[in-house]
């Protein structure tokens, strides 16, 4: 549904490309994850989708239509993006926050009001946020806030959901919750594209992985294809092993201890146990 074709991006004043010759595809019905170390160009791709960063060359297609030929509103109706962070100076109640997601559909056909309500209902049900509707967003916990943000993206009503580092500030339980929700959405037919550095979770839930390194695609394919020790070690620059936990059934990355460094002298203090 979303396809990047040989995309090249360079920031103003930079001496090398942020993204070079990257091609990847996020199809409906599956979860695609873009992974890689910091600065590998993951978030840049999201900015390109948002129209906030111009391409040097290459193109981005939404269902075979070039991104540049579509208006931002058209794009917003098809693709919903959940950005890394949102801080609201004047926190609204969740209900109103969700309603903002219908913005791309404003002024379209006036029959919109019913469509708006339906979209809200569907999103609230899918993300299971009904009990939160009357609370203001600044009273939500991290996990609740993330679900609400995903709900708002769903309210937009498109077929594609793009998320930039959606679980960075969440604990294990909420992380798993979020990923399970995303997996369900993918299973139900949406194209879910997420950028994450949580390799292990991504390996369990995503059907397609794209590993970026220095702005280029270092590997892509199923989690098994991509999660290989040599590739990952090279890309992340850290000794690691890839194991497979039978309980989980997906490859998992385990970083090893680094080269022993000269530790600072430790003097025992009377107050220490």
């Amino acid at each position: 549904m979303i396809a990047f074709e040989r995309v090249v991006v360079r920031y103003r004043g930079a001496d090398r490309d942020a993204v070079h010759d990257v091609s990847l595809e996020a199809r409906r019905g599956r979860m695609t994850a873009i992974v890689g170390p910091n600065g590998s160009g993951k978030s840049t791709l999201v900015r390109v989708l948002l129209g906030r960063q111009p391409l040097v060359s290459g193109r981005v297609l939404l269902d075979d239509r070039d991104l540049r030929t579509l208006s931002r509103t058209d794009v917003a109706r098809r693709v919903a993006v959940v950005t890394q962070r949102e801080e609201l100076a004047f926190p609204p109640p969740v209900r109103e926050y969700l309603a903002l997601g219908r913005f791309p559909h404003r002024g379209a056909r006036r029959a919109g009001a019913a469509a708006d309500r339906d979209a809200m209902e569907r999103a609230v049900a899918l993300a299971a946020v009904r009990p939160l509707l009357d609370r203001t967003v600044d009273t939500l916990s991290g996990g609740e806030w993330q679900r609400v943000r995903i709900a708002r993206a769903l309210v937009q009503g498109g077929d594609a959901l793009v998320l930039d580092e959606p679980t960075t500030y969440l604990d294990i339980a909420h992380e798993m919750e979020a990923f399970e929700l995303l997996a369900q959405l993918a299973h139900d037919g949406m194209a879910v594209l997420l950028v994450s550095h949580q390799l292990n979770l991504v390996a369990r839930f995503a059907q397609h992985l794209v590993l970026l390194h220095g702005g280029r695609v270092a590997a892509s394919g199923t989690p098994d294809d991509v999660m290989r020790g040599e590739v990952l070690e090279r890309v992340y620059g850290w000794p690691l092993v890839v194991t497979r936990d039978p309980a989980v059934g997906a490859p998992a990355l385990v970083p090893l201890r680094g080269r022993p460094r000269a530790a600072p002298p430790y003097t025992h203090r009377p107050s220490d146990p």
Binding site: R52, A76, V79, T83, E86, A89, F90, E96, L100
Partner: protein, 325 residues
């Protein structure tokens, strides 16, 4: 009626009462019967003059001034995502003051001072925009904020230079202008401020949803299909123009644009459409009340309007601060 709607009905009621009091009270004591007769054009011609020529336009100007400042402040706070934003932020007050002081020191006719103030405000906002464009990260509201501060500081320096060697009349005239007053209100002025406030206010209310979206941040706004830069820029422009119009009409009246949107939010206004409209009502009430106090506190002397709005506004603001978590 829901509780929220009830509160707003009460607010409107308070505004109407204040408007009536503003016409009924003043430096000269008039009986309510006399006031009503004068409003209808009957009775003592002097009383008619006092009520219709002096007090009515003044009250109308105060209403528009408060509404304009409220609308402008609410819009700017939303688009800058900053609860401390206010209408004079982008150099409006500094530029207007420079324009007015130049006009006063050149001995310009009284009718030209508002024009000079308006042009000065526009010039200052334009310069602030240009300065912000030159910096990287142009869309960032903080850059615009800083540009406004720079322009304001420059304007203050210019004013000090102009006043340092000016004669006593110029200094007094300039100072009085800067303290704000609706005392010279005439229907012509009221008409033009009404035009700016209604057209500007109408535009800002129409863009209220966009301001709601902008509140999410520029990336999120882009994700929802909004050209954040363009949307933000036109809100800045129109909000500053409305503010400039109020300054041209009545000088510098501080605190209103800052405090009123907070009160509106406290009263339960949700999206920016409600906040902007609510701020118009509360702003009008605040300025009418302040002008009333300015006139009746120490008759026949008149307190400067800007001082009274600050005196009333500060306690409100302190209450706000205490309620912050």
């Amino acid at each position: 009626m829901t509780r929220r709607a009830g509160r707003w009905a009460a607010a409107l009621g308070v505004l109407v009462v204040l408007m009536l009091l503003s016409v009924a009270l003043g430096a000269v004591r008039l009986s309510p019967a006399d006031t009503v007769r004068a409003l209808l054009g009957r009775g003592d011609p002097t009383v008619i003059t006092i009520v219709r020529v002096l007090r009515m336009p003044r009250m109308a100007l105060a209403v528009l001034l408060g509404a304009g400042l409220g609308i402008s402040g609410a819009s700017l706070q939303g688009v800058m995502r900053n609860p401390l934003a206010e209408p004079y932020l982008l150099g409006v007050s500094g530029g207007a003051a420079v324009g007015a002081v130049i006009a006063v020191s050149l001995g310009a006719a009284a009718g030209l001072v508002p024009i000079a103030a308006f042009l000065g405000a526009i010039a200052a906002v334009s310069v602030a925009f240009l300065v912000a464009q030159a910096a990287p990260g142009r869309g960032d509201s903080r850059v615009l904020l800083m540009a406004g501060v720079i322009v304001g500081a420059f304007a203050n320096a210019a004013i000090m230079l102009l006043l340092a060697n000016a004669d006593a009349d110029t200094v007094r005239g300039a100072l009085w202008w800067m303290m704000g007053s609706v005392g010279d209100a005439a229907w012509g002025q009221v008409g033009w401020l009404a035009l700016y406030v209604s057209v500007g206010g109408g535009l800002l209310v129409a863009w209220a949803r966009e301001i709601d979206i902008l509140a999410l941040g520029e990336d999120a706004a882009a994700g929802l299909g909004l050209d954040a830069d363009r949307a933000a820029r036109r809100v800045y422009l129109v909000a500053s123009l409305v503010a400039a119009a109020t300054v041209a009409a009545a000088g510098l009246v501080g605190f209103v644009g800052l405090v009123v949107p907070h009160i509106a939010r406290r009263m339960g206004a949700g999206g920016h459409r409600a906040v902007i409209l609510g701020s118009a009502v509360i702003g009008a009430a605040l300025v009418v009340a302040a002008d009333l106090i300015a006139r009746v506190a120490l008759p026949p002397a008149e307190l400067p309007l800007g001082a009274v709005t600050a005196i009333i506004g500060v306690p409100f603001f302190l209450v706000q601060l205490r309620r912050l978590r």
